[in-house]
């Protein structure tokens, strides 16, 4: 047993987190910043943060993740990091020449109390920012929120710094995709285009963190939201925010700052999650849903009806990020699966819990925020063993010890590829989830079946 010290008996813990089901805000901010075209994320703190975040994102995407750091030493920690940031800005534009530097703070610079707005203003006055180039920032103290809220904060800062309300409303919809994979962002864009709607998506990491092999390294790949598009997001007639935790804040700011109304939707994962998204888009844009999309939907539903027996009554445990968990719970419940546990380290709030229970029923155990960790998740599993678990790579230690099939969803996934390239959003994403679940469930049935009950046709 790898997790041999995890006990079945659950003792109350109030101070110790064991095997976290979240990580810190800056990594989310770094990921979001990669979703701006020609942007170099910059970590304002000691260089270990930047190194850890780049490593984590690189292992997850298996793609280059470029970001710089203010490289604080003890001196900077005492006297403040202004000099480090000014020097960084100067060096970054001279050596790497991005269009945008997106700075996020760390616990170190937050505790010192560096005022990023003031430092950036000083960089402007001192002429350290070349014409046409931009430096933006967001606050991501690691002692608040999680990687998901960090993503949300950087996305909100994009609105803060870039979006402007012009003279007229444009026939375009803003899509804030949430902390999802580049493949998911590409799929949402495809659906929007298929609907005949002009969409502006930010952040957009499609093509950035799943870039092709070309024989030439490109520090700023072709993908990413253009600054001009984020500017014009202030003129859109609607924002669709996908996922409360990661996307609501930016959408609300677009509303207050640029008077762009917004709808907060769940992530379009599963049939009904995608239905809600497509329907909102249809109503808002006044367009008909093309037959091609209804066809895709029909295929997903077809697999559900064909294979229902394998889903029915199966017990599931979920650990991951709140926005994914909400939509997944709805999807799995729709398949007649029983969602036993839903755990996230992100402080997702009582609304999150209510929503999960609304979908899965009052008996589902929901844990969120500090203390809601993989250790707690594992203890729940030891007390009532599910048939399938969903989680990031770290959940595989539980899956192995308890001998439960597992689906990798969320961040980070260090040990498999696929998430970068194949979406789980939309109807095609639903189809893929169904296929992966069936593979896991049926492989297990094949493995465990007595010889006389080993089935040829399933």
């Amino acid at each position: 047993m790898l997790l041999r010290h995890t006990t079945e008996k659950i003792e109350e813990r109030s101070a110790l987190t064991i095997n976290p089901a979240k990580t810190c805000q800056p990594v989310g901010a770094m990921y979001a910043a990669l979703g701006i075209h020609s942007c170099l994320p910059h970590s304002h703190g000691s260089q270990g943060c930047c190194s850890y975040h780049r490593s984590a994102l690189t292992r997850h995407f298996k793609d280059p993740i470029m970001a710089t750091t203010s490289s604080f030493t003890e001196g900077a920690s005492v006297f403040g990091g202004q000099a480090n940031l000014l020097e960084s800005i100067n060096n970054i534009f001279s050596i790497y020449n991005p269009d945008v530097i997106a700075v996020h703070t760390t616990c170190l610079s937050e505790v010192i109390g560096d005022d990023l707005k003031q430092i950036i203003a000083k960089a402007v006055t001192e002429g350290k920012i070349p014409t046409g180039k931009r430096v933006i920032h967001t606050n991501t103290p690691s002692f608040k929120g999680s990687h998901v809220t960090g993503f949300s904060n950087m996305t909100t800062s994009m609105v803060q710094y870039f979006s402007e309300k012009g003279k007229e409303r444009k026939k375009q919809v803003n899509i804030i995709p949430g902390f999802v994979e580049p493949s998911d962002m590409a799929e949402v864009k495809r659906l929007v285009a298929e609907m005949g709607v002009k969409g502006i998506m930010f952040p957009d990491t499609a093509g950035v963190t799943n870039s092709p092999m070309t024989g030439k390294f490109n520090m700023f790949p072709d993908g990413g939201a253009l600054v001009s598009d984020i500017v014009s997001a202030g003129d859109s007639f609607l924002t669709l925010a996908l996922g409360r935790t990661a996307s609501m804040s930016a959408a609300k700011l677009l509303d207050t700052k640029c008077k762009v109304p917004c709808e907060i939707l769940d992530l379009p994962i599963g049939v009904r999650g995608t239905d809600a998204f497509i329907n909102s888009l249809r109503m808002a844009a006044g367009v008909n849903v093309p037959e091609s999309i209804t066809f895709e939907r029909g295929q997903a539903v077809d697999v559900i009806t064909d294979m229902h027996q394998y889903f029915y009554g199966k017990k599931v445990g979920l650990v991951g990020d709140p926005d994914q968990l909400v939509s997944l719970t709805q999807f799995l419940t729709d398949l007649d699966m029983k969602v036993l546990y839903v755990v996230t380290g992100t402080p997702a709030g009582p609304k999150f819990e209510r929503k999960i229970k609304e979908f899965a029923g009052e008996n589902t155990i929901v844990k969120y925020g500090p203390g809601a960790d993989l250790f707690a998740f594992h203890q729940l599993i030891k007390n009532d063993k599910p048939d399938l678990i969903f989680g990031n790579t770290y959940a595989k230690y539980i899956a192995r010890d308890e001998d439960i099939p597992m689906l990798r969803i969320g961040f980070p996934i260090y040990d498999r590829v696929g998430h970068q390239y194949f979406p789980i959003v939309g109807y095609r994403g639903a189809l893929r989830l169904l296929e992966r679940m069936l593979n896991a469930i049926l492989d297990r049935q094949d493995r465990d079946a007595p010889e006389e009950r080993f089935e040829l046709v399933m």
Partner: protein
């Protein structure tokens, strides 16, 4: 493979410096050197262990990573609690691939656990000591550990939490548990290196010497600075067992607390990674009288040489004979594989930018298969790792290093034992066994190779453009940058999830791995046919 003339190192250096702002160019010009070894083995002076310039895409990490991640991380039964916000504990959780093998299936193994106080805003404002104490209590209730290490992250030092006071207080409450804290805040020093030193200090003062009884055996030694990435320590253990050395403890691959705590019982310390653990070797010599010398188990020849040195140190005839026989046996297979692979790799170029000793050690393996290291450098080493310990006295201690505690160590009145008399030491020297010595990387590299300290992304891009190496060795952050450019990258931190590469079996693994990388056809898939020959010369015309 490079075609034509390999460029002059000095030209490459100039090309690198050209793009930098003046101040940065001045600094980097002292950290980028054209190697030249004189007849006494003296090499030019390099600037190292200085702060990384802000805004530079660096490979470096922080003191916390060096302390918790590198030195203490590989130990399986010291319960490690990160005091701070969640990130640091999360990122250092299992990511370094330190393998461990508890002696029985039920034995303590905390490696798959990440423990953190997950500090929230309230604790930042009002202090986190209370939460830390509570966390320690909860941890003891669940895990019943022998020892607990507390690792400080950046905010801890700034808000003034005293992890050492907490450790002392909790130890009074739980006298059976050895509790100690590390002030390894990420901003300390200029890289992981500060964290190594901090870890060495605490392990020395609070762990080594706590137990009086060690392992029984005739030729007892510790291996310092071997972290069992990819199972390296397992291979070294195999060799130790087969040759009859008693490996008392490894700091810290595949290790246990008790082995550390009684490590003063041995008669020899051998040092693998000089950078991360030379402090402990020195302190143990001063306090307990245990001599140390440098070894290298990376490379078959280097392993054989190290084993011979160790056997000669103990001077036992049977031991020396066993070692010789073992080497002969092992080398039979190694040589077969080596010859086969040398034929496919000879003359190819390698570059190594990693760590504080790996950039040196791994050159051995490349040499064995006829490959040349054209450029190399460390991520976080000091001048002595480049130029040799002879320069230790002349290293300037700047403000960033002065903050790292230097412990004053004295002879232990009871447990100091002279292992070798002055006469014996002189004899050893005659045999070529230099105690407390390390000659560094540069003296073993050829003239006109390019040595670069704290290499950054931009410089790496210039290097591959100019030299077109066949393989580039670095870490995960560099891996896909290089591979997108068509250059295979071998990770020498994580070994790309393979290994072991130490010892005789490891050498064969590495030869094969390099053969795979430098002779692969996969990069030939990069261009599509229509990119290779875009001209349209088809005979079928659609619009006719």
């Amino acid at each position: 493979m490079f075609e034509g003339k390999i460029p002059e190192a000095v030209e490459v250096k100039e090309a690198i410096l050209k793009k930098y702002p003046a101040k940065l160019a001045r600094k980097r010009s002292k950290q980028i050197l054209v190697n030249k070894v004189d007849e006494n083995g003296v090499v030019p002076e390099i600037m190292a262990n200085t702060r990384t310039t802000p805004g530079i895409l660096t490979m470096r990490g922080c003191a916390y990573a060096g302390c918790k991640g590198v030195v203490l991380g590989p130990t399986r039964d010291i319960l490690q609690i990160t005091h701070g916000p969640i990130g640091c504990g999360f990122y250092s959780w299992l990511t370094r691939r330190n393998q461990t093998r508890p002696k029985t299936p039920g034995d303590t193994n905390y490696m798959p656990y990440a423990l953190s106080t997950d500090m929230q805003e309230d604790e930042i404002i009002f202090g986190g000591e209370k939460k830390l104490k509570k966390a320690i209590e909860e941890a003891i209730a669940i895990f019943h550990p022998k020892a607990i290490g507390i690792f400080s992250t950046c905010p801890v030092g700034l808000i003034g939490d005293d992890v050492h006071a907490v450790a002392r207080e909790m130890e009074l409450k739980y006298p059976d548990v050895n509790i100690f804290g590390f002030s390894c805040e990420g901003y300390k020093g200029v890289s992981q290196s500060a964290g190594h030193h901090i870890a060495n200090n605490k392990v020395f003062t609070d762990v080594v010497g706590q137990l009086e009884k060690g392992k029984e055996g005739k030729f007892r030694l510790n291996i310092l600075g071997e972290y069992n990435i990819g199972g390296d320590a397992f291979e070294i253990e195999r060799i130790m067992d087969a040759t009859g050395f008693t490996l008392h403890s490894t700091f810290s691959g595949n290790s246990e607390y008790d082995e550390f705590a009684s490590a003063q019982m041995v008669d020899l310390n051998v040092v693998m990674c000089h950078r991360s653990i030379n402090y402990l070797a020195e302190m143990m010599e001063t306090k307990y009288g245990i001599p140390w010398f440098k070894v290298n188990f990376v490379g078959a020849e280097a392993t054989a040489k190290s084993l011979r040195k160790m056997a000669a140190y103990f001077g036992d005839k049977d031991l020396i004979e066993r070692v010789e026989n073992f080497i002969v046996e092992e080398m039979k297979e190694v040589e077969k594989v080596r010859l086969e692979i040398e034929g496919k790799c000879k003359g190819k170029l390698a570059m190594l930018f990693v760590g504080g000793s790996r950039a040196h050690h791994y050159q051995e393996l490349f040499r064995e298969i006829g490959m040349e290291t054209i450029s190399a450098g460390y991520e976080f080493a000091h001048r002595d790792d480049y130029e040799g310990r002879r320069v230790k006295g002349s290293i300037t201690v700047d403000a960033d290093t002065r903050n790292i505690e230097e412990i004053t160590v004295e002879k232990d009145p009871v447990n100091y034992r002279e292992r070798k008399t002055a006469e014996e030491r002189a004899m050893l020297k005659k045999q070529g066994i230099e105690l407390s010595e390390y000659h560094g990387m540069m003296s073993e590299m050829k003239d006109n190779t390019l040595i670069i300290d704290d290499l950054n992304h931009y410089e790496a891009e210039v290097l591959i453009e100019k030299y077109k190496p066949d393989v580039f060795c670095a870490g995960i952050k560099e891996k896909y940058v290089m591979q997108k450019s068509g250059i295979p990258l071998k990770q020498l931190h994580s070994y790309d999830y393979s290994g072991p590469y130490a010892g005789f079996k490891g050498a064969m693994n590495f030869y094969r791995e390099i053969d795979r990388l430098v002779n692969t056809k996969v990069f030939s898939l990069t261009k599509a046919p229509w990119q290779e020959s875009p001209e349209l010369a088809g005979s079928y015309v659609w619009n006719e």
